[in-house]
């Protein structure tokens, strides 16, 4: 095909009677384009002949291709069911009622807000935190209302049920 020859869409336009006169003239004198136009017309005639007959039914292979999804779908559903319906091996550990570090913080906060309550000026005499603080925390761990009590000025690093008598006295003399 030379550069002057017609493109396929121009040949189709000639076939449909919509081409410019120049294209029609070229197709009439160019053997190559004449041949291609003849091939186009022959192909269209074959296509028309087939389309004039009743259409064949859709091929079964298409339904088989659709069936290929069935095992995949079943496998996915089974996997999902296993994940959702599997019995738990052990009961989930309930989350702690409160964080012990928070208890200590609230305790210290209460002291800072109300230093007069109970044992003002006695900080130096408190037992080391290792000894009392941990016991304190452990002792309150079972009391759900403990943090609230602490926040309301419930005292210090000592337990709620412990007496404050003697706390803060260097020489063992009770106050008040």
């Amino acid at each position: 095909m030379t550069t002057m020859c017609l493109q396929d869409d121009a040949l189709l336009a000639i076939h449909l009677g919509e081409a410019p006169a120049a294209d029609v003239r070229h197709a009439a004198i160019c053997p190559l384009c004449t041949g291609r136009l003849g091939t186009l017309r022959a192909d269209l005639a074959r296509i028309d002949a087939h389309l004039a007959l009743p259409p064949p039914p859709a091929r079964r292979e298409r339904s088989l291709r659709a069936l290929a999804w069935v095992p995949l779908t079943l496998a996915a559903a089974a996997g999902l069911a296993l994940v959702l319906l599997r019995p738990h091996a052990e009961a989930p550990t309930p989350p702690a009622a409160y964080n012990p570090e928070v208890v200590v913080f609230l305790d210290d906060l209460a002291d800072a807000l109300d230093p007069v309550d109970g044992y003002s000026g006695a900080e130096d005499t408190l037992e080391p935190l290792d000894a009392t603080g941990d016991a304190d925390v452990q002792g309150r761990a079972n009391t759900a209302a403990a943090p609230v009590g602490l926040a309301l000025g419930g005292g210090s690093t000592r337990g709620l049920d412990e007496s404050f008598i003697g706390v803060g006295c260097d020489n063992g003399i009770q106050r008040g």
Binding site: D8, D9, L12, A13, L16, E18, L40, D43, L44, R46, I47, D48, H50, L51, L53, P54, P55, P56, P57, A58, R59, R60, R62, S63, A66
Partner: protein
């Protein structure tokens, strides 16, 4: 003004004048004979309604447009897609012709299947343009008006459709 041209045809005359053309259009647009018969029924129900309510000035163009739209609706419906994928194969074209050899008949059947498969694979717009412009012989401007697209788009869709169908002829 020509009053004779304004006299509406009878419903029966409309049916007789357009039924074959509508059936052929539906068969080509849906590529299925049974579905085509169903859609023809739907089309003439709409014709009957329009005949009573608001008769169009140009029945032929109106019926063509309704046919194309009804086929498009049917193709879009989920039921149609499901049916196309799972339809049972009942080959009505199994019997070879009286003169063809079995080899020729097999080749012809295979080509027949390929051409219709290529038509089914065409995008809806290309198929509509090919059927109306090439097979039904509508003018490009009429196809453009019926489908609501530009004449240039009609030519482009037609070229692509012809290219795809010719390629189907060449497949082996």
């Amino acid at each position: 003004m020509n009053t004779a041209a304004r006299v509406p045809p009878s419903l029966d005359a409309l049916y007789r004048a357009h039924r074959e053309r509508v059936l052929r259009l539906c068969r080509l647009l849906l590529a299925d004979a049974d579905e085509a018969a169903d859609v023809v029924h739907d089309v003439f129900l709409r014709v009957e309604r329009a005949f009573r309510v608001a008769p169009p000035a140009d029945w032929a163009a109106w019926i063509t447009r309704v046919t194309v739209n009804t086929c498009r609706d049917r193709r879009r419906s989920g039921w149609w897609r499901w049916w196309r994928l799972t339809g049972v194969e009942l080959d009505a074209d199994e019997t070879p012709g009286p003169t063809a050899t079995p080899e020729h008949e097999a080749v012809r059947r295979e080509e027949h299947r390929r051409v219709w498969a290529a038509l089914r694979r065409l995008p809806a717009r290309q198929r509509e343009v090919f059927v109306l412009r090439h097979l039904e012989g509508f003018a490009t401007d009429d196809v453009a008006a019926t489908l609501g697209i530009a004449p240039g788009s009609v030519k482009r869709h037609l070229f692509r459709a012809v290219h795809a169908l010719r390629r189907a002829l060449g497949e082996r």
